[in-house]
């Protein structure tokens, strides 16, 4: 195939989307999609939810079946890693020894689990959860596990805990901060989920770290906490966040700072190299800058979500295909399923200075509207999809002009408010 060549590094949700969107945008050159995991590109969210619980199979994880890649003329290289970007030579070096000459590199390298640097972390039964291999291992171990210790109460840890409890294990969640999911949700939402997990039967220790993991020489048997307690644990999940895979960019001389630094078009300082998804640190009006009074409009953020990966992939694919594109400006959204609670988040609520409730947490159906100054910056909804959808629409406009009092008043019609905007 003649014409330009695009190499997409990383075959997760973002990389897959970049490759397929290039075709949708009419890109006629060569598209190579390189992933270091074996097998077809798949979705990660179910790995800590339905797939982990055994409610869905591998076919439901696949983003597309194998013939799709042939039909779309996407060269899929799985079990292959890119080891270096040769910028002057316009090529990408591969672990298997070859190289791909390419006109554009899209880095969708994702992130990897942060390791817990304590003695015993290498014992059998101490596991991460990020990949299909991880999930398969955990699924198998959950059948036998009696005492599960979950280290880190983020989305993944809490989703895993909900599944583990349902599988019949005793679950102890330990979290070094005092606020589960505190990196992404308000204090109200955090408290609500903490109480829910306790109600479901988990023990939760907040403000608690891990001193070491104890074992019988081979397998983990317990976790010794920072405050000296010994918690039995034959299965220990380590989910204390991720580290962005930015080395390829850094080694190529590109700026990295909590991810690969890109501009509002998701390009690095080298216009032939873009970065998207979990590995990309990008400027956005949705990120609070930390200055008093809330948003100034040019904060930077790195987001770990399906929406972010997919929307950024579309932006970059359109640009590479020669379309005129506007700066990337999609409303971020996230979700988490924990037993019968569906948490949906629109916008980025970190940095809010006022949070108002709409609905009653006691009813397990409510939203928290988060404001910075008088400006709505994000909405967390629990079992309240209508609020979530309207929030996505409200946040898409530059100033939703919704007041905290209006948000808190359930008789105030948000849809009509949107119509007036």
């Amino acid at each position: 195939m003649a014409g330009p060549v695009v190499a997409v590094v990383g075959a997760g949700q973002a990389g897959f989307q970049a490759a397929s969107s290039l075709r949708q945008e009419g890109f006629a050159g060569r598209v190579v999609l390189i992933g270091d995991e074996p097998g077809l590109p798949y979705q990660r969210p179910p790995l800590s939810k339905s797939y982990l619980a055994g409610e869905s199979g591998i076919e439901e994880l696949w983003l597309r079946p194998e013939p799709f890649y042939q039909k779309q003329e996407i060269e899929l290289l799985t079990g292959e890693a890119a080891t270096a970007i040769d910028r002057p030579g316009r090529s990408l070096r591969l672990a298997s020894g070859g190289a791909i000459e390419c006109d554009h590199v899209v880095l969708a390298t994702g992130a990897r689990c942060r390791a817990l640097p304590v003695p015993g972390a290498d014992l059998d039964g101490v596991l991460p959860l990020r990949t299909l291999v991880d999930a398969d291992m955990l699924r198998e171990r959950l059948v036998e596990a009696h005492d599960v210790v979950v280290v880190g109460a983020g989305f993944i840890g809490l989703e895993f805990a909900a599944v583990a409890i349902a599988a019949g294990a005793a679950v102890h969640i330990i979290e070094v901060t005092h606020q589960p999911m505190g990196r992404v949700v308000s204090a109200q939402t955090s408290r609500f989920f903490t109480e829910a997990h306790r109600r479901w039967g988990a023990t939760i220790s907040l403000g608690t770290g891990v001193a070491r993991i104890l074992g019988d020489g081979r397998s983990a048997t317990a976790v010794e906490t920072s405050d000296g307690r010994v918690l039995p644990g034959d299965l220990v999940l380590i989910c204390i966040g991720v580290v962005p895979n930015a080395e390829l960019a850094r080694d190529a001389g590109l700026a990295t700072d909590n991810g690969i630094v890109v501009d509002e078009y998701l390009a690095t300082a080298d216009p032939a190299i873009s970065a998207i998804g979990d590995c990309a640190n990008f400027p956005t009006r949705f990120a609070a800058t930390g200055q008093a009074g809330g948003l100034t409009g040019h904060g930077r953020v790195r987001l770990e979500s399906v929406q972010n990966g997919v929307d950024q992939a579309r932006e970059v694919a359109a640009r590479i295909a020669g379309k005129r594109v506007a700066p990337y400006d999609k409303v971020p959204w996230f979700w988490s399923d924990q037993r019968d609670l569906k948490l949906q988040i629109a916008g980025i609520t970190v940095g809010h200075d006022q949070a108002v409730l709409r609905g009653e947490p006691e009813s397990s159906s409510f939203s928290v509207f988060c404001f910075a100054g008088d400006r709505l910056i994000g909405v967390e909804s629990v079992n309240r999809p209508a609020d979530h959808i309207i929030a996505r629409r409200l946040l898409a406009v530059s100033d939703p002009r919704l007041t905290p009092a209006q948000a808190a008043d359930e008789s105030y019609d948000l849809k009509a408010h949107m119509g007036r905007r």
Binding site: R64, P65, P67, F68, V306, A386
Partner: protein, 107 residues
């Protein structure tokens, strides 16, 4: 296996055998039907698996949940009375022969 017909905006039709218990969305994905995006994988977060169910087939569809009703507000193409999210349409033996129309756009 029940047969489901997917009609593209240009009028072309794809007839697929979709296993019982599989959604009309997943049936499309596994057969690379253009026009179903399904970026959230069936979690009712994205509304990119929107279809119009052929009117006579509507009564063979499962009822709409509140989540689905809310998400249908977010479709890229016009929401009509026969709009559904195909991830919620899990195929049953009674759905054999159902026809769904794909919208002009999903994103």
């Amino acid at each position: 296996m029940p047969s489901i017909t997917y009609v593209h905006p240009d009028g072309s039709r794809q007839v697929l055998d979709v296993p019982i218990g599989t959604s009309i969305m997943r049936g499309a994905i596994l057969n690379s039907v253009d026009g179903i995006v399904a970026e959230c994988g069936g979690e009712m977060m994205c509304a990119t698996c929107h279809v119009y169910v052929d009117e006579p087939d509507l009564n063979r569809m499962p009822p709409q949940s509140d989540d689905e009703k809310a998400m249908l507000e977010f479709t890229a193409s016009e929401r009509k009375p026969n709009s559904r999210l195909s991830c919620q349409l899990v195929v049953t033996p009674e759905m054999d022969g159902v026809v769904v129309y794909l919208p002009e756009s999903q994103v």
